[in-house]
């Protein structure tokens, strides 16, 4: 009922040690293509984990498996000790995991504010008769949701664009709005699919600053990122994925410096 305002100060003690998000032995096949092959890695609470690897390594498939959009053939995903595999995707959002999309998927014909309010959790917004049967409550609820939405927009620096249509935003602003949407969902683990791609230097700086700032406020991130420069600035942990399998996991500098991995990543070009 009372849509909980996402508390950014998540309770750190609730996370079992080392097992905040665990992907264990996950395999997923599309026809003849082995998208994920015995893929295992961990995401640590209140850290930024970057998922890197060449194109087609299965990074987005990992997102789809974690968020319940895809069901793996084998393996499991656990979050805070709870098994996610087989759970409907909305339950997974309720538990506190929300993902963004590489191609943004914003509601371009809606206002910036509405893009955010739709992501606010609610148990009543799927009921078409509620606005008719309890008009006053519905109006009050929408007002409260608008306020909550504005607070999210302020957090990502889009407060003054609340009533603009998304199609009128710059690409950088649209990407910030994607983060705003994720915050609105109340999730504490945010899955970002290439948040930095296509951004100008200036927009990139504000994006990275925002992500680091949200980490300070208690959010955990799993980020798909190609650019090693950005990985250096962002990552606490790096997971290197190749042909659906995790080749290396750990300290960013060590992984970026590993010549064997660089060879795979750049296809032998370096």
């Amino acid at each position: 009922m009372n849509a909980p305002l996402p508390s950014t100060e998540a309770s750190a003690s609730a996370a079992p040690r080392g097992g905040y998000l665990g992907v264990v032995g996950v395999s997923k096949q599309f026809g003849g293509l082995q998208a994920l092959n015995d893929c295992s890695f961990k995401v640590t609470h209140r850290q930024i984990t970057c998922l890197v690897g060449p194109n087609g390594a299965g990074k987005t498939t990992v997102f789809n498996v974690i968020t319940g959009f895809l069901r793996p053939e084998t393996g499991s995903v656990t979050f805070r000790g709870q098994l996610l595999t087989g759970m409907p995707s909305r339950r997974i959002v309720d538990l506190g995991i929300c993902r963004s999309f590489q191609n943004l998927r914003l509601f371009t014909e809606l206002t910036v504010l509405d893009n955010v309010t739709v992501y606010l959790p609610s148990r009543t917004d799927e009921n078409p008769f509620r606005p008719v049967l309890r008009p006053w409550r519905s109006i009050v609820e929408q007002r409260r949701r608008n306020e909550a939405g504005r607070a999210m927009l302020a957090e990502v620096g889009l407060a003054d664009r609340a009533n603009d249509f998304v199609r009128n935003l710059s690409y950088g602003e649209q990407k910030l709005l994607c983060i705003g949407r994720l915050l609105a969902s109340g999730a504490e683990l945010l899955l970002l699919d290439e948040p930095a791609s296509g951004l100008s230097a200036e927009a990139l700086d504000s994006m990275l600053a925002l992500v680091l700032q949200l980490k300070e406020k208690g959010k955990t991130f799993l980020v798909v990122e190609h650019n090693t420069g950005i990985v250096r600035r962002l990552a606490d942990q790096v997971v290197f994925l190749h042909q659906g399998h995790v080749l290396a996991e750990g300290d960013p500098e060590a992984i970026i410096a590993d010549p064997a991995l660089a060879d795979i990543y750049f296809g032998g070009a370096l």
Binding site: R90, E109, D114, V118, D125, N127, S138
Partner: protein
């Protein structure tokens, strides 16, 4: 006077149907062309219930609202899982099935010759048997429908279904139950078109399959396209303009046998012209 009043009543009734079409197609993006058939279900239920004195008018209307809602949901449930374009085909099939039912269940629906002599509505002991007495009822229904539409669009559900039209996947990534929301829209839209059908049958005092066949579905679609998507003004303008057309043709010096086909041609031409030159309709938003 009566001529103008009966035009207004019919336009008001179709405005309710236009809101139904708008909820489905305009707001949520569920492209249904079975709206005429659902309108027919509402009309037949009220006609049959009041003809046989089985139910008083208000209860017959209530039954029409509930059943139209259920039929719309029943149609929606299996087919909303499939993506947009396929729903058009499913709803077309539904339209044909229901038209066939209206035409061939002669014992219940009177078959192709329809059900004449549907009694006028009786409310608080007053028989609304002419345009002057019927128009308050039609107007009241329309105003109530508009208020509800406005409330739904303003509230969280309205935002949600708008978002579903824009990007279904992004809505499910927010943890929302897209299927439930779509079923909800189908239910709500069924209520609107059921009311419209019921009022239509009792006002015209006659219902036959030709009022709810595929041409009727296209008429509802044309109203929606001409008026414009999503706005209340569009829901009023489309029916007001298209319902004026038969009246204008009736006073034109053309043989009455030609008026029907000519009307269809004009409806078709309007549909094409608007899609080409003004897809947002007269008072609507981008489709």
């Amino acid at each position: 006077m009566n001529f103008l009043l009966s035009y207004l009543i019919i336009a008001e009734i179709y405005a309710l149907a236009a809101m139904s079409t708008n909820l489905l197609i305009g707001v949520t993006g569920i492209f249904s062309i079975a709206q005429g058939a659902i309108f027919g279900i509402g009309a037949y239920i009220v006609a049959i219930a009041t003809l046989n004195d089985a139910l008083p008018f208000p209860l017959a209307m209530l039954l029409a609202m509930v059943l139209c809602s259920l039929v719309n949901v029943a149609m929606a449930l299996p087919s909303l899982r499939i993506s947009g374009d396929y729903f058009v085909v499913t709803s077309l099939g539904m339209q044909f099935v229901l038209t066939a039912a209206f035409t061939n269940l002669t014992g219940i629906t009177g078959g192709a010759s329809g059900l004449p002599g549907v009694p006028p509505p009786v409310l608080f002991g007053i028989e609304l048997d002419d345009s002057q007495s019927f128009i308050p009822l039609a107007t009241l229904a329309l105003v109530a429908g508009m208020i509800c539409y406005w409330l739904v669009m303003r509230g969280p559900f309205g935002r949600l279904i708008n978002a579903i039209r824009e990007d279904e996947l992004a809505v499910s990534a927010a943890g929302k139950n897209v299927l439930m929301a779509k079923v909800g829209v189908a239910a709500l839209s069924g209520v609107y078109v059921g009311v419209a059908g019921g009022l239509y049958a009792t006002f015209i005092s006659f219902i036959d399959p030709s009022s709810c066949d595929i041409a009727a579905s296209f008429l509802l679609l044309t109203m929606f396209v001409v008026g414009g998507a999503r706005t209340l003004a569009g829901c009023l303008i489309g029916p007001a303009l298209l319902m004026a057309l038969p009246q204008i043709l009736a006073v034109m010096p053309i043989p009455s046998a030609a008026a029907g086909p000519l009307r269809q041609i004009i409806y078709g031409a309007l549909l094409i012209a608007f899609m080409l030159f003004r897809p947002q309709g007269i008072a609507g938003q981008k489709l």
